[in-house]
């Protein structure tokens, strides 16, 4: 087990190294000279040159890369050009909001999606099964931002149940915060929920068809016991794998949801910074997002190896 954890840890470090290379090289191709963006169009060439020197833009690319990574490890992601603040500080301000709505969405997707899949599998071929499969098909095809537009129209503008947009910290005003967060969380969770329902259903069906389920049945065990003790235990493994994939998708979708609902999180920060040509911030955001995704996947893999000893070997 320890060897397995160490191996996965090493792999994650290598993956993160590659991520940093990808992020760094993408941003080398970006248009515009950061020094000029910083100073504005009226700056003299000497001033631009001086700022380039200060920002280290005159040094060779490998030197720039290692300085950037070295600083990033120390927690310094550079200075934002538009906000004129430390990128780490800006991200620290935006990240908690994204994490808050993402965790809520993930929990919602799991506690509704997995039971829905189980019910669909037990009642396969029936009306409930086809209803769940229709909803799941819709969920996997609907763009999160369009769902958000529909929700705003129906629940905010027509019914007036929830505020149209905005974000308040739950520690500040819990009731208002919850009202504001309900629609974004549902929109964010919907696609993941659909995936969980589908994956759980097909995993359950697979296990139901296996010999040990039949043995359990022929022993005369109650259907409920079979589902909970035998089938579910085995079917849950592919569902756990899906959590890793969905973390990525939910965090990715925040880019739309935060835009539509005007939530000042990481997704909105990325889009804003692209329009501001503030690429130091974009660089930092993508790196932080990738680290979060990679670490969550590491945790999932470890718990997975813990649950299923077969995984540890390969």
């Amino acid at each position: 087990m320890i060897a397995f954890i160490i191996r996965r840890l090493l792999q994650t470090v290598i993956v993160l190294f590659m991520v940093s290379l990808i992020v760094f090289s993408i941003l080398q191709v970006l248009p515009g000279d950061p020094a000029r963006t910083l100073l504005g169009p009226e700056a003299s060439p000497e001033q631009v040159e001086q700022i380039r020197e200060e920002l280290g833009l005159n040094r060779s690319l490998p030197v720039q890369y290692f300085t950037w990574v070295g600083n990033a490890i120390k927690g310094d992601l550079g200075k934002s050009i538009a906000f004129r603040e430390d990128v780490t500080g800006i991200i620290g301000e935006h990240l908690p909001k994204t994490i808050y709505i993402s965790i809520l969405s993930m929990v919602l997707a799991i506690i509704i999606g997995v039971p829905a899949g189980i019910i669909a599998a037990i009642k396969r071929g029936g009306k409930i099964d086809s209803l769940i499969s229709v909803i799941a098909n819709f969920g996997m095809a609907v763009p999160a931002f369009w769902l958000a537009v529909l929700c705003i129209y129906l629940f905010s503008l027509k019914l007036g149940w929830f505020p149209v947009q905005g974000y308040t910290s739950p520690f500040e005003d819990f009731w208002l915060s919850t009202q504001q967060v309900i629609m974004p969380v549902i929109c964010l969770a919907f696609a993941a929920l659909a995936s969980f329902a589908r994956q759980t259903r097909s995993a359950m069906l697979e296990v139901i068809m296996q010999d040990f389920t039949r043995t359990a049945r022929s022993k005369g065990l109650k259907e409920g016991t079979i589902i909970i003790k035998h089938t579910l235990k085995n079917a849950i493994i592919p569902v756990i794998t899906l959590v890793g994939l969905q973390v990525r998708n939910i965090v990715g979708s925040t880019i739309f949801i935060e835009q539509v609902f005007n939530i000042p999180g990481m997704g909105r920060l990325v889009v804003q910074s692209i329009f501001n040509q503030d690429f130091v911030v974009v660089q930092g955001c993508v790196l932080v997002i990738a680290i979060i995704v990679a670490l969550t996947n590491l945790l999932i893999d470890i718990s997975y190896g813990y649950a299923d000893p077969r995984i540890r070997i390969k």
């Binding site: 290379l21 095809a141 609907v142 369009w146 097909s202 692209i274 990738a290």
Partner: protein
């Protein structure tokens, strides 16, 4: 004489087996009405994209200031937008961008992914490790964020959106192919060939590719939907297809500002996205069930 009869019998036998396989495929594939309906939707979309100038009732770019934000009517079933352009015509033209992005980006992703996966699995060792970790790294960044950053770096527009989405879909194909290569490598006939000293890349490909056709077809079909969704997303953020060119995502965003007075402006193009993506997903699932039921749950 006898050998001839035996030979011809064999041919007949093979033909019967072949047709029954094809029959089985079509029987399973077309069993459900939803699949037939989905194929119809995809067909309509393709016809719309190719014959847009003939089908669209109005010029999608013509601004008509006497018809600004008009309600749905017989002439304009989905109304008109803020500069008086017919929404239905723009949706019909929007299918061009969606279809083009879907086809070309998936083609790019599958070709690069297949080559990388084959190569990685075949060569093995350090190169394999490097390629696969690079794929892991690409997968650690959410695809839509990767696409947004790519577009920021190389600029928006149709070509860049296609390249961007193509690249972000590569890892799935590379992983699939590599897995197949590794599985085939273990098989007896390749080991036998190696023992006879005749293992070369061409042989490998000849044996690996036929085994991958089914999962590849399914993956490609499902990825059309993924690419169309992603294109809509990029255009929604203003980072995709450049206006005034019609794209469903940017139409949703444009209409969003008039949600209270003219909700149809946002609803209609979104409906188009959902219909098309649902159709591709259903067809992909049906293909999987018909081609190879064992793939269930893995793709």
């Amino acid at each position: 004489m006898t050998t001839e009869i035996i030979a011809s019998e064999r041919v007949v036998e093979q033909e019967v087996k072949k047709t029954s396989n094809t029959l089985r495929f079509f029987r399973v594939f077309l069993a459900r009405k939803t699949v037939v309906a989905s194929l119809a939707i995809i067909l309509i979309m393709i016809i719309c994209a190719i014959f847009a100038p003939l089908i669209a009732p109005f010029d999608p770019y013509k601004q008509d200031y006497s018809q600004i934000l008009s309600e749905p009517s017989l002439a304009h079933p989905f109304g008109t937008d803020l500069v008086g352009r017919d929404v239905l015509s723009r949706i019909i033209y929007g299918s061009q961008a969606a279809l083009l992005v879907g086809i070309v980006s998936v083609a790019i992703a599958s070709v690069i992914g297949i080559i990388l996966g084959l190569f990685s699995g075949y060569v093995g060792g350090l190169i394999d490790a490097i390629i696969m970790r690079a794929m892991d790294a690409l997968m650690a960044i959410p695809p839509i964020i990767l696409a947004v950053v790519f577009v920021a770096a190389f600029g928006g527009g149709l070509t860049n959106v296609i390249i961007t989405l193509g690249l972000s879909l590569v890892p799935t194909y590379a992983r699939l192919m590599r897995g197949q290569v590794l599985a085939i490598r273990e098989s007896d006939f390749i080991v036998a060939q190696e023992l006879m000293g005749s293992t070369n890349l061409r042989n490998m490909i000849k044996h690996v590719l036929p085994n991958c056709i089914s999962p590849l077809i399914v993956l490609i079909t499902l990825n059309f939907g993924v690419a169309i969704l992603a294109e809509a997303g990029l255009s929604f953020l203003g980072l995709g297809i450049v206006p005034p060119k019609a794209a469903w995502g940017s139409m949703i965003n444009d209409g969003y500002k008039y949600l209270l007075s003219n909700p149809i402006l946002s609803f209609a193009p979104g409906m188009a996205v959902v219909l098309v993506v649902v159709a591709f997903n259903i067809v992909g699932d049906a293909l999987r069930d018909a081609l190879d039921p064992r793939l269930k749950g893995t793709l």
